[in-house]
């Protein structure tokens, strides 16, 4: 399919040079190469510069609440498992206000691709520290040096039970696009932390500083959790690639197992004028 099909006619208003452009390109290209029709993808985003992404893509695009794309996305996926569901957050969105949903999603393993635009700042609110900003760093907007340590999203996601954990770089469209394709094809929750320069506010983690620290992950068995954790905990280098991948039943598969014929029978959009006959269940209560 043509990448152009995925381009919406809504004009982007990101700053010139923003890493978000690279992420947007990667998503559209991945979807095109996977030949998923635009209407079969639903993209849920949080709030932030990153959160505007779905508006720029010609798919069902749901710009949700700050920190909350995952629960929306999980609900939609469970209502219609045949949808291709992607969730998008900023780093404040995912690792700050939204980290509760982030961690809890690991226990469910919903079949969703989760892309986090990690730019070290709260872009849309003008550059406050995000949870990935290093302690004592003081990019342009900060009145005082950052007082908090930075979070390690890779180690946390592995600890939380994510079944696909990867990192990429916003300006490396090919690398990121390939990861997104793998993530979409992965059955279960696939998480990609994308290092995304914010030239406007993050005057500390710049494109150049990222490029100096980025390294491709070496070969190892991707289901080896201790190996994955070793690279996750190494914060000197910025490893990119897939840290960890393992197969575990996805959330819809788990319900499929427990219920009689979910999603076929319960796919709820099918209900029509007839109410459900509950007499069988009422029998227990007859008196």
């Amino acid at each position: 399919m043509q990448k152009e099909l995925y381009k919406s006619d809504y004009e982007s208003d990101w700053c010139p040079g923003c890493g978000d452009f690279g992420i947007l390109q990667s998503i559209m290209q991945a979807l095109a190469e996977l030949e998923i029709p635009p209407w079969n993808t639903a993209i849920f985003s949080g709030i932030g510069c990153s959160g505007k992404t779905p508006h720029y893509i010609n798919s069902y695009g749901i710009h949700t609440l700050h920190g909350r794309p995952l629960p929306f996305a999980i609900g939609a996926k469970m209502a219609n498992p045949s949808l291709n569901v992607i969730a998008i957050s900023g780093d404040g969105d995912a690792y700050g206000i939204g980290i509760g949903h982030f961690v809890n999603a690991g226990r469910r393993n919903p079949d969703i691709t989760y892309i986090v635009h990690n730019n070290g700042v709260y872009g849309l609110t003008k550059g406050q520290a995000s949870p990935t900003l290093k302690r004592k760093a003081q990019p342009k907007s900060l009145k005082l040096p950052n007082i908090n340590d930075s979070i390690n999203p890779i180690a946390i996601s592995i600890s939380a039970g994510y079944t696909f954990v990867a990192r990429s770089f916003a300006y490396n469209v090919k690398h990121l696009k390939d990861l997104i394709k793998q993530a979409v094809l992965h059955r279960g929750i696939a998480f990609i932390d994308v290092l995304q320069p914010c030239p406007t506010f993050n005057t500390v983690d710049t494109k150049e500083s990222y490029l100096q620290r980025i390294k491709n992950l070496p070969e190892y068995e991707r289901d080896n959790i201790s190996e994955a954790m070793k690279y996750a905990l190494d914060t000197e280098n910025l490893w990119i690639g897939v840290f960890y991948q393992v197969q575990r039943e996805s959330y819809d598969q788990r319900y499929e197992e427990i219920l009689q014929s979910y999603p076929k029978n319960s796919f709820p959009a099918k209900i029509d004028g007839n109410i459900t006959d509950i007499s069988e269940s009422l029998r227990d209560f007859l008196c």
Binding site: P37, N40, H63, P71, F72, A76, F285, L286
Partner: protein
């Protein structure tokens, strides 16, 4: 004929089960029953009790005076004996020293029925080879239920039938011992029956009935309505509903998700609704307080979703297992900014079912969040209701095109071309503010949603003209709802249309008010408000204006009354209020109405009965 039966005991020792089995037994015998549960926010040990009202006519309230008190330990006796009616019966453990109550017993002419629990259990244990007597203590429950039956001459096979229902699964193996021990109790009870005036023989009836709690009725309402997606986060008293749905999940292919918190619970349901599902979430006060932001998003994006809020004593953690109706104004105003929503308040267990089902129609017809506001008293009470009439209800999905792919067909057969769908099409018609809707995944189309103000496609825009129109489009739906909803869905009216006094209330006070009014033939008109928001103020005004107005509410500030004043300018004359965590009893209401009729009442009548 009506009587009241109360059983008490330490939490977690079977009190609820006993009460349910007694209520069922009476229902099998042809009676209408209503059971009210009082318990602590505690797992084992605190005092809990259950009051069952039994009548040959439909009943939806309870009385403070008890006709039969059932106890098997000292505390229950001590706590409740003074509430036993003159000439009432008291079942107690024969080993309890009741001498300190003897004066009282005499003065009230109580029928004291000593039961040799320990002996009966020991004998049963021996007969069935059950061993450890301590573990068998729970049999006191069955014994006392049977003993009650004996006193009341309730045919014992009805009690056995209820035991058959209750002792299932792993408990099946103790069914026979319980029946055996129970019959010993029955015989003892029977020995006293001649001295007790109240009798509960089998009575005839024509109609089939079911006995349900409020949470069960609500759950059935969801199933009927085609809802197949429920999220929840555990909270008293809402959890029972979700757990009941879980127990039926396989039968209906019902997806019940225990979310990580109530924020996620609501949002998952919204997501499912976007996916085409009829989706719901249920919670209570503290959880509902976390849903304000999500409700606003649903309002902004015109997403149908049903939220059940079972009110409990607030604020904050409050009285987690106690009753109150104090979340109304919060529900109407939850979430910053303005957006349309509907608040429906069922008044009893039967309405909980039908109004919940209807909530999905309203949510989809008008594309907005609907809050069904119930309370602990409805949630945890049990009541006999006529077997639900399925033909009463029809699923209406409004302007929703649900012809969506469900995974059956190959994606390849479907269009690759995409058109933008005007999900928020502005109205051409000045009476209809609802836009057509399709689910995510609808082939050949795409749309956007955003919490930001948006254009017809759902794209962000800050344009002031669009804003003026879009905001108005959403808000106008409230007027449309008032216009289009039949009056009988908005209010129920009882009593004398020509009376000088009008009682206005909402929710679970309904049963008590109707019963209490009967004591004052034709003196009152009673307006039960079911659709509280948007409020049909002219309809309400029609009923209340020119009369002496009495607000009956289980809160401190009389929330519905103040809402009515806001909308109609009419002030209430009397406020009958209660906020001690216990529902209003029949006696409470008779007292309050009597005072008002006698012109002896203060403006605020604060009720304080209950334990």
């Amino acid at each position: 004929m009506i009587f009241t039966w109360l059983i008490g005991g330490p939490q977690g020792t079977g009190v609820d089960t006993s009460a349910n089995s007694f209520a069922r037994s009476c229902a099998y015998a042809g009676y209408w029953v209503f059971g009210k549960r009082e318990y602590h926010s505690n797992i084992i040990g605190e005092h809990s009790y259950f009051v069952v009202t039994v009548s040959d006519k439909d009943v939806g309230t309870f009385r403070d005076k008890i006709d039969v008190l059932v106890s098997f330990e000292e505390r229950t006796l001590r706590t409740h004996i003074e509430d036993v009616a003159d000439g009432g019966a008291v079942i107690y453990d024969e080993e309890t020293d009741i001498s300190k109550y003897s004066d009282y017993i005499k003065s009230k002419n109580l029928l004291m029925v000593p039961v040799p629990y320990r002996k009966i259990i020991a004998e049963t244990s021996e007969k069935f080879g059950l061993g450890d007597l301590k573990k068998l203590d729970v049999m006191r429950n069955s014994i006392s239920v049977f003993a009650s039956g004996g006193i009341l001459e309730l045919p014992s096979h009805f009690i056995e039938k209820s035991m058959d229902y209750i002792f299932v699964g792993k408990r099946r193996k103790v069914l026979e011992p319980n029946k055996y021990a129970g019959m010993k109790g029955y015989e003892i009870g029977k020995m006293f029956s001649s001295k007790f005036p109240i009798k509960a023989p089998e009575i005839k009836r024509t109609q089939s009935r079911v006995i349900l709690t409020g949470t069960q009725a609500t759950a059935f309402g969801k199933i009927i309505a085609g809802c197949r997606f429920q999220t929840y986060y555990p909270i008293t008293p809402a959890t029972d509903e979700s757990e009941f749905l879980e127990s039926l999940a396989k039968r209906y292919d019902f997806v019940v998700i225990q979310a990580e918190d109530e924020i996620a619970a609501l949002l998952m349901s919204i997501g499912a609704s976007l996916g085409g599902a009829r989706a719901a979430t249920s919670s209570s006060g503290p959880g509902f307080s976390l849903m304000a932001e999500g409700m606003g998003w649903a309002g902004m994006n015109e997403v149908p979703v049903v939220i059940i809020n079972y009110q409990r004593g607030g604020p904050s953690t409050g009285l987690p297992t106690r009753h109150e109706q104090a979340d109304l104004k919060f529900a109407i105003n939850a979430g910053h900014g303005e957006f349309p929503r509907v608040i429906l308040a069922p008044g009893d267990i039967e309405e909980a079912m039908y109004i919940t089902a209807e909530a999905f129609n309203i949510a989809e017809k008008y594309q907005l969040p609907v809050v069904v506001i119930e309370d602990k008293f409805i949630a945890n009470s049990v009541r006999t209701i006529p077997q639900p009439d399925m033909t009463k209800f029809k699923i209406q999905r409004g302007k929703f095109d649900s012809k969506v792919p469900n995974g059956d067909h190959l994606l390849k057969d479907l269009p690759v071309k995409v058109s933008k769908f005007k999900r928020f099409e502005l109205p051409s018609d000045r009476k209809d503010y609802v836009s057509p809707r399709i689910p995510l995944g609808y082939p050949g189309f795409v749309f956007w949603n955003t919490g930001d103000e948006h254009d017809e496609y759902g794209h962000i825009t800050e344009d002031p003209e669009n804003r003026t129109k879009m905001h108005e489009k959403r808000m106008k739906k409230l007027e449309q709802i008032v216009e289009e909803t039949p009056d009988e869905q908005k209010v129920s009216v009882f009593g004398n249309p020509n009376s000088e006094f009008v009682i206005v209330s909402w929710g679970s006070t309904k049963g008590g008010i109707i019963s209490a009014m009967e004591e004052f033939a034709d003196k009152f008109l009673f307006v039960q408000v079911k659709m509280i928001h948007p409020l049909d103020s002219s309809l309400i005004k029609k009923y209340i204006s020119g009369r002496i107005k009495i607000a009956v509410e289980q809160n401190y500030t009389a929330q519905l009354a103040s809402l009515i004043t806001e909308k109609t300018g009419e002030f209430f004359d009397y406020f009958v209020l209660k906020w001690n965590g216990r529902p209003m009893s029949w006696d409470d209401l008779v007292y309050a109405f009597g005072k008002i009729l006698d012109r002896k009442a203060e403006k605020r009548i604060v009720l304080t009965s209950g334990k």
